[in-house]
């Protein structure tokens, strides 16, 4: 019985393993090897230099800035999309007219091409005729106006807003799926017992959304740790690398300054950071599950 179970487990894992190794693990190991060399991608030779890149990283201020950015970034980009995405999903669940259309509208941040969306965020954040500054001016908050993407003191947060905006849509989809699993009977029973809305939310709905929470938190954590695309499209890490994340540093080093070895080393470090963070999160959710079981 148990051996049959293990047998099936092996069968079920075989094909995914092959595909996954071919597409990810193999190339990943290849990159790990590069991180130990001085390969510049274009030239033919790659000299083995051991852990030099990893030692260099310790003294690289751009690495530390990117690491700090990524850490703050991740903290915000986990909390905000999770909370807003949940609220949005709960709110949208109330909508009864044209609900499919309305829900679809909130999915658009994910559906539209980023290249174009990034351009529109730029138009929102422009200093002279950007929408945000126009609105601020109209409501008498002219003193709050900034050059949102070029002022080094706010640029990071501006880009983060755009990032969270997109991640909210992602969280919303997962929560909507999770809400489907909430047993209505339980909610109704609660109502009969006289529980108010807040109690129902805390004691019935949120506990029932545990799997969705786990997915949303881990996904936004992973996405934030290697956040790249919208940052690249909006600022390319600028002004002068103030908004640079680790993933952007990897990209810049590999493709702008052709230091493929060092880029690989940074991506290995990024990989390890993510692995540890997510590993801890998994361990924590596992423990919670056992306690609740």
């Amino acid at each position: 019985m148990s051996t049959r179970r293990i047998g099936w487990a092996t069968v079920f894992l075989a094909v995914p393993l092959i595909a996954y190794v071919a597409a990810v693990v193999g190339p990943g190991l290849y990159s790990f090897y590069y991180s130990l060399t001085d390969w510049n991608a274009v030239g033919g030779t790659a000299t083995f230099i051991g852990l030099k890149h990893y030692r260099d990283m310790a003294g690289d201020e751009h690495f530390w800035l990117a690491l700090k950015n990524t850490a703050i970034w991740t903290a915000v980009a986990v909390v905000v999309p999770t909370v807003v995405g949940l609220a949005l999903a709960l709110g949208l669940a109330q909508v009864q007219r044209m609900q499919r259309l309305i829900k679809s509208l909130f999915f658009l941040p994910l559906a539209l091409s980023l290249v174009v969306v990034g351009q529109v965020w730029f138009w929102i954040f422009r200093p002279e005729d950007g929408l945000l500054n126009l609105v601020l001016g109209h409501v008498g908050l002219g003193s709050w106006q900034h050059s949102w993407l070029s002022d080094p003191s706010v640029a990071f947060w501006s880009v983060l807003v755009a990032w969270c905006w997109q991640q909210v849509a992602l969280a919303m989809v997962v929560f909507l799926a999770g809400l489907t699993g909430v047993q209505q009977e339980l909610v109704e029973a609660c109502k009969v017992d006289g529980a108010n809305a807040r109690q129902r939310l805390w004691h019935v709905i949120i506990p029932a959304l545990r799997p969705a929470f786990a997915v949303v938190v881990s996904l936004s954590m992973i996405n934030a740790l290697k956040s790249f695309d919208i940052v690249y499209v909006m600022t390319e890490g600028g002004p002068f690398r103030k908004t640079e994340t680790l993933a952007l540093l990897v990209y810049r080093t590999a493709f702008k300054t052709y230091d493929f070895g060092y880029a690989s080393a940074v991506s290995v470090v990024l990989f390890l950071i993510t692995l540890v963070t997510i590993g801890l999160f998994f361990a924590w959710t596992n423990r919670e599950d056992h306690q609740n079981a």
């Binding site: 049959r4 995914p16 597409a23 509208l105 994910l110 539209l112 909507l176 209505q184 290697k226």
Partner: protein, 312 residues
């Protein structure tokens, strides 16, 4: 009671008549109407107004894209993007569509996205099922191993993958994107499906075993139907990610005949030129399939808990 009629099937898997397509009048109808007071109604109205305000703010960038797609470049240059006045034009759409290759690009995007979505969801579900339900020794590590693919910045995999596809002659076909997205997507699918399978009671599987069903049969006919909301949501997300990706098709193709629509949009940007309008129009066109998938699949994952769940 109309509201309970839209109940989802719970994890227990019992069938319920899901007529989620229909409108429901919500408050004021059905047996519980009497217990609902004015407070509930006004609270509801408040929530809707709040949602509306938030919605407009949230959708501003989207509105911006749509607005751009109806403006000509001289118009944007002269008056900026946010002036509501000015001439709106459908030229950008006509231009985007008449551009000889738009249709080829769209077809290629489908040919990549559909198989890659199916492969990643199927394979990810297998892994998720194994680690969540069959639980062999080291399931935690197996999970982490498969999910770890998500931790790798994709740019760093480009060169090794390119070498691979170049050696086996798949370069400049649609295969590399299908293979890479299919394989890379396993990570996300494993993560999502593991979590959802874990919420499915073990008794379901055991009942199947007692009935004499084998593991594949249990997975296919007992577990997967229960996981339908998760599968639908996941397939939607995967479809979106793969559809919108331009990194892989950019690097793994050279011929125009095998380009995807996202590469097409990107190509409209020149070194020293801007084509805001055409780009936006093409982006709106290219988002339609994704939206269609979302609308089609959402009935599986938004059966909709009824209005009574969180308000009141």
């Amino acid at each position: 009671m109309p509201e309970t009629a839209v109940l989802t099937r719970g994890p227990a898997g019992e069938e319920s008549s899901a007529d989620e397509g229909r409108h429901h009048d919500g408050a004021g109808r059905g047996g519980r109407a009497g217990r609902r007071g004015r407070g509930e109604r006004s609270g509801r109205a408040f929530a809707i107004v709040l949602l509306l305000i938030f919605g407009i703010g949230f959708l501003t960038p989207v509105i911006g894209v749509v607005l751009t797609s109806f403006k000509s470049n001289p118009e944007i240059a002269a008056h900026g993007l946010w002036t509501p006045s000015g001439d709106l034009t459908t030229d950008n759409y006509l231009k985007a569509w008449s551009d000889g290759n738009a249709r080829t690009y769209l077809l290629n995007s489908f040919l990549v996205t559909v198989p890659a979505t199916v492969i990643s969801v199927v394979l990810g579900s297998l892994v998720g099922y194994v680690v969540a339900k069959l639980r062999p020794k080291g399931s935690g590590l197996i999970t982490l191993f498969f999910v770890a693919g998500l931790f790798v910045p994709p740019q760093i995999l480009l060169i090794p993958l390119f070498k691979l596809f170049n050696v086996n002659g798949l370069y400049d076909t649609l295969w590399p994107m299908i293979i890479v997205h299919g394989g890379y997507g396993i990570s996300l699918c494993t993560l999502v499906m593991r979590n959802f399978f874990r919420s499915v009671p073990d008794e379901l599987r055991e009942a199947g075993l007692i009935d004499g069903a084998g593991e594949p049969r249990i997975l296919a006919s007992v577990i997967l139907p229960v996981a339908r909301p998760a599968l639908a949501a996941l397939a939607t997300l995967q479809f979106t990610f793969i559809w919108n990706d331009f990194l892989y098709p950019l690097v793994f193709t050279r011929s125009d005949e095998v380009r995807t629509v996202m590469v097409g949009i990107l190509s409209l940007q020149g070194q020293f030129s801007v084509a805001y309008g055409t780009q936006a129009a093409m982006a709106v066109l290219a988002s339609l399939p994704t939206m269609a998938v979302f609308i089609a699949f959402q009935k599986h994952f938004i059966a909709g808990i009824t209005s009574g769940a969180v308000k009141g």
